[in-house]
Symmetry: C2
């Protein structure tokens, strides 16, 4: 049965299956603990086949981190035709939902730097940057002056939000709407701080 | 001369010297790159002696990270008899000064998690926690209601401030007073967000 399934998967399908199993691993354990052996055992394939697809442990971690980051960005993709503040509310609501539905994936991403792998770190940074850019488009559309300080502020607020999500969405059962409202108030607060000196 | 210096140092002095050299290493390069060999060469002692003092590479990294964290906390120790907002201003001013004077030490601490060492990560987290506690005492003394959400918020704001300091104090030559004023406005903004629903 396993052999039959193996012969049926195309290389792309096999690779996707291995990555999906790697992302599933993150539900319980950090990315740094995922080994080639673990994944081979979970997929019921040889270590050599896993090496064939990813080249190295670093390659495997990179592929899994990339998929996990894409999953977060897809789950929280902004609905472009909503007005900016509603778009923010909707995106944050879906992020809180994602964090709670895929607890391990989120904490692996946030703590992903702990894998010590600079390549994985770049994936995590790219996800943060993408989220910061989405926020920037919300606030600029909502009337904030675009500036380098606004960009820095929103990038830093993404780190703020990650900590809040870990503490309030993962480590407490606080109401999701309350978490979203708090995140909305804090991001508005730091954006207002960018503008303050010009008032 | 080197042999003479070696015989003169007590074990405590030798250990302190090795740690100081390790912290100095951080000026140019991340902690993760500091090896036993590097440090032995810098101190002009044998690898065996370095092992004797720290037991392992992890032990060395832990000692260097702890010293670097203590240096940041000492350099920014609050002046207890200042009123809370002035104390905050003074502390933030000294943190910006520290970050610029010891660029590598600060970025090694902030990026210290990238060494992949959970023990180093705990040191870095303890420094963050200590900074968050200092902030909490400022705001509670200034009239904010103490709460779990306030604690989470200030802990998350420390991550926000780290990103801002990396971007504005390290990677730009922005005026220090401006950076301090921006940090003051943002922390006041997020603390106000904690209080908002009760108003």
């Amino acid at each position: 049965m396993a052999a039959e399934r193996r012969t049926r998967l195309s290389p792309d399908e096999r690779r996707a299956q291995l990555i999906a199993l790697g992302v599933a691993f993150l539900v319980d354990r950090p990315l740094g603990e995922l080994t080639i052996e673990d994944l081979a055992a979970r997929a019921d394939v040889s270590r050599g086949l896993v090496f064939h697809y990813f080249g190295s442990l670093q390659g495997l971690h990179l592929a899994v981190a990339t998929r996990a980051g894409d999953a977060l960005l897809e789950a929280s993709a902004p609905v472009d035709d909503l007005p900016p503040r509603e778009r923010l509310h909707d995106t944050l609501t879906r992020i809180v939902g994602f964090v709670r539905a895929y607890r391990g994936t989120f904490s692996s991403l946030v703590r992903g730097v702990a894998s010590g792998d600079p390549v994985v770190r770049r994936v995590v940074d790219a996800v943060r940057e993408a989220n910061a850019e989405r926020l920037r488009s919300v606030f600029v559309e909502d009337g904030a002056a675009d500036s380098d300080l606004l960009r820095v502020t929103l990038r830093a607020w993404v780190s703020f939000a990650e900590e809040v999500l870990i503490e309030l969405a993962l480590d407490s059962d606080r109401d999701a709407d309350e978490i979203v409202a708090f995140l909305e108030r804090t991001v508005a607060g730091v954006v207002a701080a960018v503008e303050a000196p010009r008032r």
